[in-house]
Symmetry: C2
Subunit: 150 residues, 2 copies
């Protein structure tokens, strides 16, 4: 059994934004953007993309799947690293082209392939009219060279 | 004076992911994805896009600007509604194709054009193999018909 969702084609504006029909607006590549948040802490862990298959598998299995744009394949998060994301809740935004994915981050608690909890570990700072990055000091929870056998 | 940032062209993988050079990886349309979070509460408010101009204006003015894909123009958030977003901090992700924008949401505290605090006011629920939406009950902080003179 595969979970189905509706097509946004023919859905009027009010139904899209205020209704109960889930009609994800996949883009021309068949993708929606997913923002993944750790449910317990509220921390934004990562930003990735889902195609219809990744979204259906996520809802069916309770484990988060994405679509890897670089590899061009379905990607079960944590398949290599062990950092599986257990689905807590999915929300959609007003115009249904983005998803908020609330998860329990299992494994060592590192969503980022660099071994950190979150991918957002550097902040932008401006000095003398030029913007640079400063590390926020988020610790590495695993060694990527070891986990990915680089 | 306009704030400058680097080009990712020629930047090696380690510098991109671990370095101090801010080199946003704008896509073929010249955009990066921005996830906007209310700094005080940690709530994810919205997902939008920035081009280089929107990003520079945001850093220069301390008020958040996006690029509207539907209108094809620079978009100062809150220009019509009054719901200005004051910049607290910008972070970039590991491969620098996404931004986390921490803001103070001014006005009535509504980032969404529907009048709600967050655009993510509906959650996905699966029943009998079909996914639908359920309103989470997030209140409207303004009446969009009045604010946008619809």
């Amino acid at each position: 059994m595969s979970i189905t969702f509706s097509s946004p084609a023919g859905l009027d504006h009010d139904s899209l934004e205020e209704g109960t029909v889930f009609a994800p607006r996949f883009d021309s590549r068949g993708l929606v953007t997913a923002v993944t948040v750790e449910a317990a802490s509220g921390a934004v862990l990562m930003l990735a993309h889902m195609n219809a298959e990744a979204l259906a598998r996520t809802l069916e299995t309770g484990e988060v799947h994405y679509y890897s744009r670089s590899r061009g394949t379905l990607w079960k998060k944590g398949e290599t690293s062990g950092e599986i994301q257990k689905l807590v809740e999915i929300r959609t935004d007003c115009d249904q082209d983005a998803l908020l994915v609330l998860v329990e981050q299992t494994g060592r608690g590192a969503a980022c392939h660099t071994g950190r909890r979150s991918c957002f570990y550097r902040r932008v700072e401006v000095a003398d009219g030029a913007a640079g990055l400063v590390d926020t000091g988020e610790p590495r929870l695993f060694d990527p060279a070891e986990v990915y056998k680089l």
